[in-house]
């Protein structure tokens, strides 16, 4: 597959080259390498951005290629984050608890340790018992499995029900939105077993790496995110190339024609929906240890709508477009809302970007939709066409 596939898709090689150079550049300029031009917190921002790029290409495959406007993919992202967050929180609390209990005269029993860990984690929601959800939280391996399995199974069941009933278009979008809203509302409850609206915190502290400075950890996650994006990009580029790409683009453009050609459209949609959900879960599992905290607001419907906006601005139906959209918009968003952008005094009114950024984003979205339906990625077409003319 690989040899012929990569040589036929030069854009994949270009992407990998740019991503590799970017990763190298950030590494050299980071505090770990000694130059320190890029602060540790900015390395984290960039690492998180790479994770957002990964979920954006998943969104592009499901929406841009297969035509399913899912407004719920951040649910899968959040589930991935929660799954890894449970292990991070459990393992780290256990280490702290054991350390403090060992200072006592009598060595603690395993039950005492479990109780104390439960107290530490769930005291905030007025409980000390471990809910069943945390059954595997002491095992990194099992929780990593959950990162893939839970989003995958949820997408499989949800997708099977929705696609089987031939729910399409805007109705499907509403349904996916309801799914992520339901998940958020469930998580907001204190007795959900996932600490209600406190969410899971302290995720930036990796158990077993207590002595490693955050500068190094952040770089490690940055590399892992870059690697995940590279692998995800190659995987999706392979899926959407060749005959599979033909069929799923066919489903986007004319579902019934594909059906009367003898393809079971629902199975294809389910395949794409589930695969992209799994990749979204992985992206979330890499994102939240860099963010340090996850709470139910992360899976609120608005997050998934932003995702659609990134992909639309970046350019649907091309993977690098989705990467560009996610990177540009999310970095601009943190610049504008993080106080990076200077306020504009108009005399009678001062434009404060923390308030006005969303308005600007809204206008850009409308402008892109009206005037550049191909998005930022469409610029490459112009460049390529000019190159051809020469």
């Amino acid at each position: 597959m690989t040899q012929g596939f990569l040589s036929k898709n030069p854009s994949v090689l270009w992407f990998l080259l740019v991503l590799g150079l970017f990763t190298l550049g950030v590494t050299v300029l980071s505090e770990t390498a000694g130059v320190g031009l890029i602060s540790t917190s900015f390395v984290k921002t960039l690492g998180k951005t790479l994770c957002l790029c990964l979920i954006a290409i998943a969104m592009d495959v499901v929406w841009g290629y297969c035509g399913i406007l899912s407004l719920g993919h951040f649910a899968f992202f959040g589930i991935g984050g929660y799954a890894i967050g449970m292990w991070l929180m459990y393992a780290r609390t256990e280490i702290i608890v054991i350390k403090s209990l060992n200072a006592a005269a009598i060595p603690p029993t395993p039950e005492e340790i479990t109780d104390a860990v439960g107290q530490q984690i769930f005291g905030v929601v007025g409980s000390t018992d471990f809910p069943w959800l945390w059954a595997f939280s002491d095992s990194l391996f099992l929780q990593l499995l959950m990162v893939v399995l839970v989003p995958g199974l949820l997408a499989l069941v949800f997708g099977w029900l929705a696609f089987r009933s031939r729910v399409t278009g805007v109705y499907l979008s509403i349904l996916t939105q309801a799914m992520t809203l339901a998940l958020a509302l469930y998580l907001f409850q204190n007795d959900s077993g996932l600490r209600g609206n406190n969410g899971l915190s302290g995720l930036q502290n990796i158990p077993g790496f207590e002595r490693t400075p955050q500068a190094v950890i952040s770089l490690g996650f940055f590399w892992a995110s870059a690697l995940a994006l590279a692998l995800g990009y190659v995987l999706f580029a392979w899926v959407v190339s060749g005959k599979m790409g033909s069929v799923i683009r066919g489903i986007r453009d004319n579902e019934s024609r594909v059906r009367f050609l003898g393809y079971h459209v629902e199975t294809y949609k389910l395949f794409v929906f589930t695969l992209t959900a799994v990749i979204s879960g992985i992206a979330g599992a890499l994102y939240y240890p860099q963010a340090g905290i996850i709470n139910p607001a992360e899976v609120a419907p608005i997050a998934s709508i932003y995702l659609a906006v990134w992909v639309a601005i970046g350019g649907r139906g091309r993977l690098y477009g989705a990467v560009l959209g996610a990177a540009v918009v999310s970095l601009m968003s943190s610049w504008f809302t993080g106080g990076g952008a200077p306020n504009i005094p108009l005399g009678f009114y001062t434009i404060q970007w923390t308030d006005w950024w969303l308005v600007l984003l809204g206008f850009s979205f409308v402008a892109v939709t009206l005037f550049f339906p191909k998005g930022i990625g469409g610029l490459f077409d112009i460049i390529v066409r000019k190159g051809d003319q020469k």
């Binding site: 899926v239 060749g242 005959k243 599979m244 033909s246 069929v247 683009r249 066919g250 453009d253 004319n254 019934s256 024609r257 594909v258 059906r259 009367f260 050609l261 003898g262 393809y263 079971h264 459209v265 199975t267 294809y268 395949f271």
Partner: protein, 246 residues
Amino acid sequence: MNTLLELSGVSVSFDGFRAINNLSFQIGEPELRAIIGPNGAGKTTFMDIITGKTRPDAGRVIFGEKSVSLLKMSESQIARSGIGRKFQKPTVFEAQTVRENLAMALSNPRGPFDVLIYRKTPTGAARIEEIADEIGLSDHLTRRSGELSHGQKQWLEIGMLLAQDPRLLLVDEPAAGMTPAEREHTTDLLKRAAQTRAVVVVEHDMEFVRRLDCKVTVLHEGSVLAEGSLDHVTKNKDVIDVYLGR
């Protein structure tokens, strides 16, 4: 000539309106058949029932030597068991090339994982060339099908049906919006296809039906009004009253 498809006593209503009323129909293999009838006669519903898009309220639809019922099968299963359908409006995948359109239709395994690991084969490529030659699009294989003319799109869709290698081809108004020369090509295409398989053509245009030179079934208010050669049915008094007389 064996019976390939048989409908008997088929009825379907939409909100009280009887679109198909106790319809019985047979076609053999190979055979070319034209179906004519005024608007609302149930021509499209008839195709919808055969291809599994609409489920009838009553009646039987039986296909092939093993007499399998099509009523329990999904659209894609029916398509895989050998029934191809051409829509009235040309429906090809406009964002993709002619070659990609034909490749998608080639009769290969249709499961997602088969498709994911599918690799082009010399026989597949040869078959695509052959079909492209048949439909007169050999020089356009690398063009995006959205750029084709209306008539070429119609032929491409017929080519996609041929690539599916169906035993029964249902063709809805293939000549609509075509120039006389294009019509002639289309007639030849359908006639050739009907040498080895069953072809059902739904058509409004009498001149086109005459050129097909085949048995004609006249539909009216959801059931068969008359059947026979074109000359025979055009002399039928009922047919003249409901359709031709107007």
